[in-house]
């Protein structure tokens, strides 16, 4: 019953990198049609958790389900039709045109060469992020913000129902961060499920619908009766003294001055 509203269910995932325990028995649910944000300090396991959810990193003895379907029973091509994943900062080598980059998002349904339908979907995806006018430009000549939008178009061209983004706002300026998050909100409005790793809790609280907090490879919750932007909870999450400034029904937080 609850499954209808759950896009991704992660159960008891343990991930080790050598001797280091990156994810220590993580279980969580990502609500469908919402913008979920993963928060936590560097090295808390956010990226790994996202890669596990994308089916790229091994989920160990745990389990990842997409709309109730066991991820391990899906082929990677089929999984790519359900989950799209944008890795951290893409570094381009060859000056492919924007259109060619976006078109590679169709790879899971292309045998040898992309068909006209694939090109149409790539164009629609570029249109959706407002990058269609740059279709012929070399990707390498775009600004960081434009490149990020192109990579999001690439994920959209894949036509997944769930999109996982690893730090999509890093390298973007103030305005582009806001634009990108508004774009994510508009995707969510069209029944896509979006999960994004963000560094800035304030941006997360401004735009996000659902929050997941990670510390030392475990999920943390604020506890009974406390909101997610409870000052003490965030202080324990980030291990630093914070000040908070109320804003509407939420609050902004900043590291406390000495």
């Amino acid at each position: 019953m609850g499954d209808l509203g759950t896009a991704v269910r992660v159960e008891h995932v343990v991930f080790r990198y050598g001797a280091h325990l990156v994810l220590d028995d993580v279980s969580l649910e990502i609500p469908r049609g919402k913008l979920s944000v993963l928060l936590g300090r560097n090295g808390s396991g956010k990226s790994t958790l996202l890669r596990v959810m994308a089916g790229i990193a091994d989920c160990g003895k745990g389990r990842v389900e997409y709309f109730g379907e066991d991820g391990r029973r899906m082929t990677s091509r089929r999984r790519a039709g359900v989950v799209g994943y944008l890795p951290q900062q893409h570094r381009a080598v060859f000056p492919f045109s924007v259109e060619d980059v976006v078109l590679t998002g169709r790879a899971s349904s292309v045998m040898l060469l992309p068909r006209e339908a694939d090109r149409r979907m790539a164009r629609e995806a570029m249109e959706r992020v407002g990058m269609l006018h740059l279709a012929r430009r070399p990707y390498t000549e775009l600004s960081g913000g434009e490149q990020q939008l192109v990579m999001i178009a690439r994920v959209l061209a894949q036509e997944p129902r769930i999109i996982l983004l690893d730090e999509p706002t890093s390298h973007l300026d103030f305005i582009n961060q806001a634009r990108l998050l508004r774009l994510l909100q508009s995707l969510v409005a069209s029944d896509l499920t979006v999960v994004a790793v963000l560094h800035d809790p304030n941006l997360a609280f401004l735009y996000g619908d659902h929050f997941i907090f990670l510390k030392d490879g475990r999920t943390r919750t604020a506890g009974e009766g406390r909101s997610a932007w409870d000052l003490h909870f965030l202080e324990s999450l980030y291990d630093i003294k914070l000040v908070s400034i109320p804003f509407r029904e939420r609050a902004f937080v900043f590291p406390a001055m000495r």
């Binding site: 381009a92 060859f94 045109s97 980059v101 590679t104 998002g105 899971s108 430009r137």
Partner: protein, 342 residues
């Protein structure tokens, strides 16, 4: 890109695709023979292909022998080898995500050279298969050495390629040290790249494999666009990068090894031509893969024409490709945008 630019670029890639035809004909006319001039050859060719009246002073049997038995196999073999090396280079540059990669990176040339030297010093070992198999062995070793936890990272592949290359070069040196001076000379000649002993037998023994692997690369050309974006980017769209890499590495190695086996080490074609193509028509492999094959073949033919006609004796073609390609390579290195990117 404007409409005018787009049409210019589409015009340009047709020029590249069609370039081999005039170059092939031109190459038939070039040669050191003093009894058959280029004009005679042209007149004989025109008479036998277009049905024009032959010039009276052309010796038909001589022209037939020189053109059909000596020059035609050489021209075809040269074209195939140039095309194969350039196509393999294009595929490997996408695989390694690096425009400075060439088909010999993983030890193919030193393995092939060792195999050839072994065959030249061992009476019962046939040369071409030995060079071919040792070229494949070297690449296979590099691949296996680089493989850890069922994944093959680009940097470890490059490093193991350096190690395997070095090992086979040392083994080659031992052979050269132990063998007699006459055989040593043959080995050295072989490693410099040679097309002068081209024959129909060599065309027959290498063409099927070269054409097969180039067709394979041609079919996979769009997947190379995916692979060229990076491992994680490939995985995220549902393809397995390790599998895709192997699918490109195999035909590239087969094509290059078949070329090395039949003509020795012809350097820089597989490095420089893919780059020239990318500068001319852009990085999209769906177009640059066939263009690289065509331009690679035409380029090697032109270089071979120089080596056949510039001096009264024939210089090994590998020397020429290096002399021409070297400065170009330096120019590429100096351009700021090109560098290592793993």
């Amino acid at each position: 890109m404007s409409r005018a630019e787009a049409s210019r670029s589409s015009c340009l890639h047709w020029v590249l695709y069609l370039l081999p035809l005039p170059v092939l004909v031109l190459s038939l006319l070039v040669g050191p023979s003093e009894t058959l001039t280029a004009r005679d050859a042209a007149s004989w060719l025109a008479a036998n292909t277009l049905g024009l009246a032959p010039a009276a002073d052309v010796n038909d049997r001589l022209a037939r022998t020189i053109l059909l038995d000596v020059r035609l196999p050489r021209v075809l073999l040269t074209f195939l080898i140039g095309g194969a090396l350039a196509a393999a280079g294009t595929g490997l540059q996408a695989l390694f995500r690096n425009p400075l990669v060439c088909p010999y990176l993983l030890g193919l040339s030193s393995g092939g050279a060792f195999g050839a030297a072994l065959a030249l010093t061992t009476p019962w070992l046939p040369l071409q298969p030995a060079a071919f198999l040792f070229g494949l062995t070297a690449v296979g070793l590099s691949y296996l050495l680089a493989r850890t936890h069922r994944r093959v990272s680009t940097i470890s592949l490059v490093l193991s390629g350096v190690i395997v290359s070095g090992m086979f070069t040392s083994l080659l040196t031992i052979l050269q040290f132990l063998t007699d001076p006459f055989k040593l000379q043959t080995i050295v000649h072989w490693t410099m790249g040679n097309l002068h002993n081209a024959s129909w037998a060599k065309v027959r023994s290498s063409a099927p494999l070269i054409l097969f692997s180039c067709a394979w690369l041609f079919l996979l050309r769009w997947r190379m666009n995916v692979l060229a974006l990076g491992d994680e980017e490939t995985r995220s769209v549902g393809l397995n990068p390790e599998r895709e890499k192997l699918l490109v590495l195999l035909p590239a190695t087969l094509a290059a090894s078949a070329s090395v086996a039949v003509a020795g080490v012809i350097s820089l074609v597989g490095l420089v031509v893919p780059h020239m193509v990318r500068m001319l028509i852009g990085p999209d492999n769906t177009r640059s893969m066939p263009a690289a094959f065509a331009l690679g073949g035409a380029f090697l033919l032109l270089v071979d024409n120089c080596s056949r006609s510039l001096t009264s004796f024939e210089l090994p073609v590998g020397v020429f490709t290096t002399l021409l390609g070297g400065p170009f390579f330096v120019y590429l290195l100096k351009r700021a945008r090109i560098g290592w990117e793993i």
